[in-house]
C-alpha cells in the first residue's frame, strides 16, 4: 500500500495505515509538529532554551557544544546558536573520510562566526579495520562507529569544558523519522562486532560505554537539545542563505559530506539491504510542504549515483580484494539482533530513560526506539 500523504509504502517496517490511507509515520510527524512548534511559539521556547543555556554556562568559556560535519544542518545550527547569543564550541569527529568541501565548509563557517573548533581524529588504520569488521558482519549499520564516536566526543568535550548543553542539528521536518527496525546501534554493539571481526586493538576509537554515559547523564547532567525542531527550517532556503552569507558550498546530497557515509547510503544500503534512505528524507520534505509528491516520486525512481572510483577507494583502504569484497556483499543479511547490544539493558531501564527524556537529557527518539 502507498501512504496517501507521503511517499512511504508497505515495504517500510512498522508501517500502518489509517482509514484515509495515511501512514503512522505521518502521524508521528504531526504529533512532533505539535510538540515542537515553530513560528512565534517556537521562537519563545528557543529564547527560553537560550537563556537556560547562557545561565548554565556563565562560568565557562563555552556554554554549549555543537557537532559539526560541514553539512547544511549543522552549519545552520552554528549560525542559529550565534544569533541566539550563545558561545558554542564546535566539535568535529574526523573519521578520515571527509570530503574536501565538508572540511572547507567547516572552516568557512567557523571563521566567519568566530567559533573555536575541537577536532578528534581517529587513527585511520584503526577506523578502516572497524569499518571492515562492520562490513564483514553483514549488518546495515556500517556508519555506527562514526555516530557513536561523535556522540562520545561531544560528551567528552562537554565534560572537559564544564558545558551543560549539547546541541544537535537533527530536523525531523527535513531529515525525517527513520523507520523503527531499519537500524540500531550502541557502544556494546560496536564492541561485539569489533571483538568478533576486528583485527587491530581499539585504541583511539572513543566508544560510548554505558557506565560512562550514565555518569554524564546523572552526575554531569549534560542535556541534549535539538534547536532546529523549533525553527521553520526549509532546506533549500537554508542552503541558499548559507551560500550567500558565508560562502558555504553544497556537496550534492543529504549526508554526502562524508565519503564513507556516501558509500553506505548510495551503495551498501540500496544494493545489499534494499534500503533507500531518500524515501525517509523526501517523505519528510513532502509532509512539511517543501517538495511536491510528484517531484519526490520522480526523483526516487532514478537510481542513486555512485562512482566506481569511490567503491575502489573503499576496497583499497579497507584492504579488500575484489573477491573478498564480493563475498562480503553476498553474505546473508544480519541485524543487531545477531550481535550483543545494550538493548536488553536499555529495555530494563525504560522508566529511567523516560525520566531522562523528560529532563531533556536524552532525545525522545532514543527513548522511543531503544527502550522497547
Amino acid at each position: 500500500m502507498f501512504c496517501s500523504r507521503c511517499i512511504l509504502d508497505s515495504r517500510i517496517p512498522g508501517i500502518t495505515f489509517d482509514e484515509n490511507g495515511v501512514c503512522n509515520y505521518c502521524k508521528i510527524h504531526d504529533e512532533m509538529c505539535k510538540e515542537y512548534p515553530t513560528g512565534e511559539k517556537g521562537q519563545k521556547i528557543l529564547t527560553k532554551i537560550a537563556e537556560n543555556i547562557k545561565r548554565g554556562g556563565r562560568k565557562s568559556k563555552y556554554d554549549c557544544v555543537i557537532g559539526v560535519s560541514g553539512g547544511c544542518d549543522s552549519s545552520y545550527l552554528l549560525y542559529l546558536a550565534r544569533k541566539l547569543g550563545l558561545r558554542p564550541l564546535a566539535v568535529h569527529f574526523d573519521n578520515t573520510w571527509n570530503s574536501t568541501i565538508a572540511v572547507e565548509n567547516i572552516h568557512t563557517m567557523l571563521k566567519k562566526l568566530d567559533i573555536e573548533l575541537y577536532t578528534y581524529v581517529i587513527d585511520n588504520e584503526e577506523f578502516n579495520d572497524l569499518s571492515r569488521a562492520f562490513l564483514s558482519a553483514s549488518v546495515p549499520e556500517i556508519d555506527a562507529p562514526t555516530d557513536i564516536a561523535l556522540t562520545t566526543i561531544l560528551y567528552l568535550a562537554a565534560e572537559k569544558h564544564k558545558i551543560k548543553y549539547i546541541l544537535n542539528a537533527h530536523t525531523f521536518r527535513t531529515e525525517g523519522i527513520s523507520p523503527i527496525g531499519w537500524w540500531y546501534f550502541d557502544g556494546k554493539y560496536v564492541q561485539s562486532i569489533h571483538r568478533q571481526l576486528g583485527k587491530r586493538p581499539m585504541k583511539t576509537f572513543p566508544n560510548l560505554w554505558l557506565r560512562q554515559w550514565l555518569k554524564w547523564l546523572i552526575l554531569n547532567r549534560i542535556k541534549r537539545i535539538r534547536p532546529l525542531y523549533y525553527v521553520d527550517y526549509r532546506k533549500e532556503e537554508t542552503k541558499r542563505f548559507l551560500t550567500e552569507n558565508f560562502g558555504w558550498r553544497w556537496y550534492g546530497g543529504h549526508h554526502m559530506e562524508n565519503k564513507f557515509t556516501f558509500f553506505n547510503h548510495n551503495y551498501i544500503l540500496p544494493k545489499k539491504f534494499d534500503i533507500d534512505l531518500r524515501l525517509v528524507e523526501f517523505s519528510a520534505l513532502v509532509r512539511s510542504g517543501q517538495m511536491a509528491k510528484r517531484e519526490a516520486l520522480e526523483k526516487i525512481s532514478k537510481p542513486m549515483p555512485i562512482e566506481e572510483n569511490l567503491v575502489n577507494e573503499v576496497k583499497k583502504r579497507l584492504h579488500f580484494t575484489d573477491e573478498e569484497f564480493n563475498s562480503v556483499l553476498s553474505l546473508p543479511k544480519k541485524t543487531a539482533k545477531n550481535y550483543e547490544t545494550y538493548r536488553p539493558t536499555f529495555k530494563r531501564m525504560r522508566s529511567f530513560f523516560w525520566l531522562m527524556y523528560k529532563l531533556d537529557l536524552v532525545p525522545k527518539s532514543f527513548f522511543i526506539k531503544y527502550t522497547r
Binding site: 500500500m1 482509514e19 509528491k293 525512481s301
Partner: protein, 209 residues
C-alpha cells in the same frame, strides 16, 4: 487518423471495431512513424501494471509517445490499465509509470463491513461528473452507464485532474483529464452506445491544445 498503440497488452481489436462502427478511421500500430503521424492516440491495456510498463518500454515507443503527447500535445486516451500507466506508480507493481499525470494507482480500500464487495470491480456502473468536459458530451443524463473490470484505481494528487468519480465501496476516480491527456477506468469499447458516444466525443471534440 487515430492510432491505437499496440504494445501487446490489450483488446485493441474490440476498440478498433468500435471506431469502425462510428465511422472513424483508426489503425492498430506499434510503428514509430504511424504514431508520429497520428492525430490522436489510444493507449489500451488489460493486465498487470508492471507487465504493461515493461512491454511499453520493450516496444521502444516511450520516447515517441512522449514527444507526441508532452511536446506536441496530441490528445491521448488511456483505457483501463492504459489510464493507470499514465500515473506515477502502482501498488500492483514496483516499476514507475509514465508519470504524465500527478496520480498514483492504488488498491480498493474497503472497510470491514464492505468485505463482501468483490474485487475486481466488474460490471456496469454510473459516473459522477466533477466538471464539464467534451469527453462526456451528451452523456450527462443519469442513465449513462459504463462497463468496468479492474482491481486497482487511480488516486489523483491534484483534485483538478479528476473528471469523474464512481462509487464502489467508496468513491474512486473513474476518469481523468489533464490538458490533452485523458484516461478512463472503464472500457468504452464494451460500453455499447455510451462507450460509442464517448469515443465519438474524443475523436470529434478533443483537440490538440
Amino acid at each position: 487518423m487515430i492510432v491505437i498503440v499496440d504494445y501487446k497488452m490489450g483488446n485493441s481489436g474490440s476498440i478498433l471495431n468500435m471506431f469502425k462502427r462510428i465511422g472513424v478511421e483508426a489503425i492498430i500500430s506499434s510503428n514509430v512513424s504511424d504514431i508520429e503521424g497520428a492525430d490522436k492516440l489510444i493507449l489500451p491495456g488489460v493486465g498487470a501494471f508492471d507487465n504493461g510498463i515493461k512491454n511499453l518500454k520493450d516496444s521502444g515507443l516511450i520516447p515517441v509517445l512522449e514527444k507526441k503527447v508532452i511536446k506536441r500535445k496530441a490528445p491521448i486516451l488511456g483505457i483501463c490499465l492504459g489510464m493507470q500507466l499514465l500515473t506515477l506508480r502502482s501498488e500492483e507493481g514496483c516499476l514507475s509509470g509514465l508519470g504524465w499525470v500527478d496520480a498514483e494507482t492504488v488498491r480498493f480500500r474497503f472497510t470491514e463491513n464492505q468485505a463482501s464487495l468483490r474485487i475486481p470491480h466488474m460490471g456496469w456502473n454510473t459516473v459522477n461528473l466533477m466538471r464539464y468536459n467534451v469527453l462526456f458530451e451528451n452523456l450527462h443524463n443519469k442513465d449513462a452507464r459504463f462497463y468496468f473490470a479492474h482491481s486497482y484505481n487511480v488516486r489523483c494528487n491534484n483534485e483538478k485532474d479528476v473528471l469523474s468519480t464512481t462509487h464502489y465501496g467508496h468513491d474512486f476516480v473513474s476518469s481523468i483529464q489533464k490538458g490533452n491527456i485523458f484516461g478512463v477506468q472503464f472500457h468504452p469499447e464494451k460500453s455499447h452506445r455510451f462507450g460509442m458516444q464517448l469515443l465519438k466525443n474524443f475523436c470529434m471534440h478533443a483537440r490538440t491544445l
